[in-house]
Amino acid sequence: MKVHVEVKPKSGVLDPQGNAVLEAMRHFGLEARNCRVGKIIEFEIADGTIRREEIENKLHEVSRDLLSNPVIEDYKLQIEG
C-alpha cells in the first residue's frame, strides 16, 4: 500500500519560502503570485498486517501529529492500493 501525504501551510499563515520563490522566479521573467511551499511524504506499508480501517486511522494520526504541525499546516492523505 502506497501512502502519499501532502503538507501545506494553512492559508493565512505566512510562508516565507513562498515569498522568496516568487522573487526568484522574477529572474526568469515569470510573474507569479500566491506561492506556497509544502512537503510531500511518501512511503509504503506492508499490507495484510492490520485492518484497512485501522490503518487509515493510524495514518491520519501520523499525518496530523507527526508529519504536519496542525497549528500552522494542513495535510492531505492519499492511500493507493
Binding site: P16, Q17, A20, V21, E23, A24, H27, V37
Partner: protein, 244 residues
C-alpha cells in the same frame, strides 16, 4: 609586496541578501598581510578590480528552497563565473560552497545534515592536497582544526563524480579524528567519503564547509585558517600568477 601593479592583492567578499559571515571574512582577511578585502553587493556585475573572490557563509535568501538555490541567479554570479573561467581564485565558504555547487562551478550538492540538526562545533580535518593555491602553506601540517556551523553540509555526488574527485586529488579537506583517520564518528554531517572541501578541475575554485575566517585570530584559539589565506597570498606572489 608586489602583486601585478598593486602592492596588495584585493579580494572581493560578495554580499548576498542573507550573507552573514561577510564581515567576519573582511575582518579576518584584513588582519593578514598582503590581502585587502572589500564587500561587493550581489547586484554588481563586475569584478575587474579584484584578484580573488570569496563567497562567504550565511543564509543567502534564507536558504529557501535549497541553500544557494536562489543566490546563484544573482547578477554578480555571471562575473564570478567569468572570473573562475579566467583561472582566478574563487573561495566558497559554507553557504558560499553551496552556492558554487548550485551554480555548477563545483560538482555535487550539499544536502541536509544526516542528524537533521544544525551543527556548530570545531572539527578535525585532514589536508589531503597541499599542492593547491589554497593549501600550499600547510607544509608539515596534516591534521588541522576548524569551526563548522551548518545545517546542510552533507556533501553528495554520484559514484562516478566521487571517484573522479578522489583520483584527481580534488578532495582537499576531509573530516577525520584527531589522529587523522576518516571514520564515521568524525563525520559531522554524513558527507560522502567524509568530504569537507573540494576543488574544481582547473584548481582555482575551492569550496569548503568549515570556516577558515573563524580561525585567523589568536584569541579565538585556532589559527589554521591563516594558512589558507596565506597560501592565496603566496599564489599572488608566484610567477605563475604574475605571468598569467
Amino acid at each position: 609586496m608586489q602583486v601585478g601593479y598593486r602592492s596588495i592583492a584585493r579580494l572581493a567578499v560578495v554580499q548576498f541578501p542573507g550573507s552573514n559571515c561577510d564581515m567576519d571574512c573582511v575582518w579576518a582577511i584584513n588582519s593578514l598581510l598582503g590581502l585587502k578585502a572589500k564587500l561587493v553587493w550581489h547586484k554588481e556585475t563586475k569584478l575587474s578590480d579584484f584578484d580573488g573572490v570569496v563567497l562567504p557563509g550565511g543564509f543567502s535568501y534564507g536558504d529557501y528552497l535549497r541553500p544557494g538555490a536562489i543566490a546563484r541567479f544573482s547578477p554578480i554570479m555571471d562575473a564570478v563565473r567569468d572570473f573562475a573561467e579566467e583561472g582566478k581564485p574563487v573561495l566558497g565558504i559554507c553557504n558560499g560552497f553551496q552556492i558554487l555547487c548550485e551554480a555548477g562551478l563545483l560538482p555535487g550538492a550539499l544536502v541536509r545534515n544526516r542528524s537533521l540538526r544544525f551543527v556548530c562545533d570545531r572539527v578535525w580535518l585532514k589536508v589531503e592536497n597541499k599542492k593547491t593555491i589554497f593549501t600550499s602553506r600547510f607544509g608539515e601540517v596534516d591534521v588541522i582544526r576548524l569551526p563548522i556551523a551548518h545545517g546542510d553540509g552533507c556533501y553528495y555526488a554520484d559514484e562516478a563524480t566521487l571517484g573522479q574527485l578522489e583520483k584527481e586529488g580534488r578532495v582537499v579537506f576531509r573530516y577525520v579524528n584527531r589522529d587523522g583517520v576518516a571514520d564515521v564518528a568524525s563525520n559531522p554531517n554524513g558527507s560522502c567519503n567524509n568530504i569537507a572541501g573540494i576543488l574544481n578541475e582547473k584548481g582555482n575554485v575551492l569550496g569548503l564547509m568549515p570556516h577558515p575566517e573563524r580561525a585567523v585570530f589568536e584569541n579565538l584559539g585556532l589559527t589554521y585558517g591563516r594558512l589558507i589565506f596565506n597560501s592565496i597570498v603566496d599564489y599572488f606572489l608566484s610567477d605563475e600568477y604574475r605571468w598569467s
